[in-house]
């Protein structure tokens, strides 16, 4: 198998390894109910990962996606339930702010790390203002949607397939998707060919905002109530998911299908696998780091042969 093919299959391989390990340790987990339970929280992580992937595709990094998911969660559990119009308007405004950030970062050539780190305080502050204490309740239609049990295939797996499919089609199979990836791969060439780099940056950030909103709403659908800090772990998980899924930090090399698989791997490895291996929860975060390092090490080994 060529090095390129190994690289492409690495996300699937690591996912299969983690599922295989779980099946070996606890065969009963591999069932409709088991997957439902284990992968429940993987769906919002996958959505946040796709959001981060759009930002990384344009050679930027979003350190505010976690607090943003938390903010969306707070809006969902309060305004979206009590006055849907106000809630929807707030969420659309949030996406508009994301788009505006893209424009600001491009226009003033700012470091996205610092800008988004600053924004993480803004989202967290807004979330605390909206919901000073944990509480609120998810709208009933959202609870019904997230709680739906389709025949044969568990909802989280179905959702992951749909998310991966939509993102893959949009970014990898459409002509503007190629332009978006190009804005990360070779911005100078793209600009000379007459495409607006401002527009690509705005579109990528707006897409990140959209998927961030979806992530927050799904999360609240699962947890049923909100907390301003609910998304705090998502920033790092989302970056890890993108990289695990074969994304490169520079050059617009990302893979939506890989990113979703990366997110699922993280979600499974972080908690169910460790529980079955009787490893104390203290080391759950370390498992994420270790998996990331192992996969990157394998990738480095493979690339040497290239």
């Amino acid at each position: 198998m060529s090095a390129r093919a190994v690289r492409a299959w690495l996300p699937a391989l690591s996912f299969a390894l983690v599922v295989g390990a779980i099946a070996w340790l606890n065969p009963r987990a591999i069932s409709y109910l088991g997957f439902n339970l284990m992968l429940n929280l993987a769906v919002p992580i996958a959505l946040a990962t796709i959001a981060q992937m759009f930002v990384i595709a344009g050679n930027e990094l979003d350190l505010s996606i976690g607090p943003f998911v938390g903010f969306v969660g707070c809006v969902t559990a309060t305004w979206l339930r009590d006055s849907p119009l106000l809630g929807a308007a707030a969420l659309i405004a949030a996406i508009a702010i994301y788009a505006a950030l893209g424009a600001l970062i491009y226009r003033r050539s700012l470091p996205s790390i610092v800008v988004t780190l600053g924004m993480s305080f803004v989202w967290l502050g807004l979330a605390i203002l909206l919901l000073p204490k944990p509480g609120g309740k998810a709208p009933d239609w959202l609870l019904a949607t997230v709680g739906y049990q389709p025949p044969w295939i568990p909802l989280p797996i179905l959702a992951a397939l749909v998310i991966a499919g939509v993102a893959h089609f949009g970014l990898m199979r459409t002509s503007y998707g190629a332009i978006l990836r190009g804005s990360g791969g070779n911005p100078a060439a793209l600009a000379r060919a007459g495409w607006s780099l401002l527009k690509t940056k705005v579109v990528l950030f707006a897409l990140a905002g959209c998927f961030g909103v979806l992530s927050g709403m799904t999360l609240i659908g699962i947890t049923t109530s909100a907390d301003a800090n609910i998304g705090s772990g998502y920033t790092l998980l989302a970056i890890a998911g993108v990289i695990l899924g074969g994304g490169e930090f520079v050059g617009g090399r990302v893979s939506p299908v890989g990113a979703v698989m990366g997110a699922l791997t993280m979600a499974l490895a972080a908690s169910p696998l460790l529980t079955f291996m009787n490893i104390p929860p203290d080391w759950q975060v370390a498992a994420n780091g270790a998996i990331l390092i192992i996969v990157l090490a394998v990738r480095a080994l493979v690339s040497t042969r290239e």
Partner: protein
């Protein structure tokens, strides 16, 4: 007035000091002149911790695009626990505890660079993966233990000379040394050269690998010592003690006039930016602003200041 403006445009980092001064004046005006001195003492005491890690982060960022140390918060947390455990409430063990924290931080920095080199991954991902592991190590190591610092060490970190915290004086001395190292020594000039053009620096015969290793180790060691001092100042180590220093260390470096594109650094600006951020919080606290609003305003000010300062020209 025009000469003042000329000085300001020639030295943009002076803006951060000016901003800090304005915030202080506004707060003092609000309190009617009450506690202005105490406010400055507290601001210096809180800024020193940001400055220590800020200087480490500055050297790392100056290495060029993509170089950043995201493991500082986890590093500070672990080192604070290590220092407190080694000291074990015993004043005679203070020096050993400080050395242990320094060594712990330096080891983390070295490990960060080892990851960057061995896996050929961007420093952001390397330091991020490392921080996951460090954080877990800290949770597991410092589990449920709120170990108090030895009384002598706690007093030392809170000591003041005529209203000026002793640690702040030491940090200023260290900042001057860092400034000299940056501008006048081979090490600092090498860091700047690598940041301007890594390939050119390598072709010119600079030991690029060794300088980068040294820089990441330095950043880690500073994080380690910061953790120990924080645990002394706040009278106890805990896992979250370093959390705010990710944003703080990056923000003071960028607001302080260091170029994120690398190759251009500024030490005094770090002090100005750190004082600015602390006094901003002091002002908001004095106004009695709620926690959510305080965060919101802090975030907006940071984004606003960075947007106004602009990025790579």
């Amino acid at each position: 007035m025009t000469s003042l403006l000329r000085t300001l445009s020639a030295k943009p980092w002076l803006w951060s000091f000016l901003g800090a001064l304005v915030l202080w004046l506004v707060t003092v005006a609000f309190t009617g002149g009450q506690g202005g001195g105490g406010m400055l003492t507290a601001a210096l005491a809180l800024s020193q911790f940001t400055v220590i890690v800020g200087i480490g982060q500055m050297f790392v960022i100056t290495l060029g695009p993509g170089n950043v140390d995201l493991s500082l918060p986890a590093n500070i947390g672990l080192a604070s626990a290590v220092a407190m455990k080694v000291m074990d409430g015993n004043d005679s063990m203070v020096v050993l505890g400080l050395v242990a924290a320094l060594a712990c931080g330096a080891a983390i920095g070295t490990a960060n660079y080892a990851l960057i080199r061995a896996l050929r991954i961007p420093p952001i991902i390397a330091t991020l993966s490392a921080s996951f592991i460090i954080e877990s190590a800290d949770i597991s190591y410092g589990r449920g233990l709120q170990i108090k610092p030895p009384p002598g060490f706690a007093d030392f970190t809170n000591l003041q000379l005529l209203g000026v915290p002793l640690l702040a004086i030491l940090t200023i001395v260290f900042s001057i040394c860092a400034g000299i190292a940056l501008q006048r020594m081979v090490y600092g000039r090498s860091v700047l050269a690598i940041g301007q053009n890594m390939r050119a620096a390598w072709l010119a015969g600079l030991p690029v690998g060794r300088i980068r290793l040294l820089t990441y180790t330095l950043s880690g060691a500073l994080g380690g010592i910061d953790g120990a001092l924080l645990a002394g100042y706040f009278r106890g180590a805990n896992v979250d003690i370093g959390n705010e220093y990710l944003l703080a260390s990056l923000a003071v470096v960028v607001i302080g006039g260091t170029s994120v594109a690398g190759g251009k650094a500024n030490v005094p600006g770090i002090w100005g930016a750190a004082l600015f951020l602390v006094l901003l919080l002091t002002m908001l606290n004095t106004f009695g602003v709620s926690a959510g609003l305080r965060m919101l305003i802090t975030g907006l000010v940071i984004v606003g200041v960075i947007a106004a300062a602009g990025g790579r020209e």
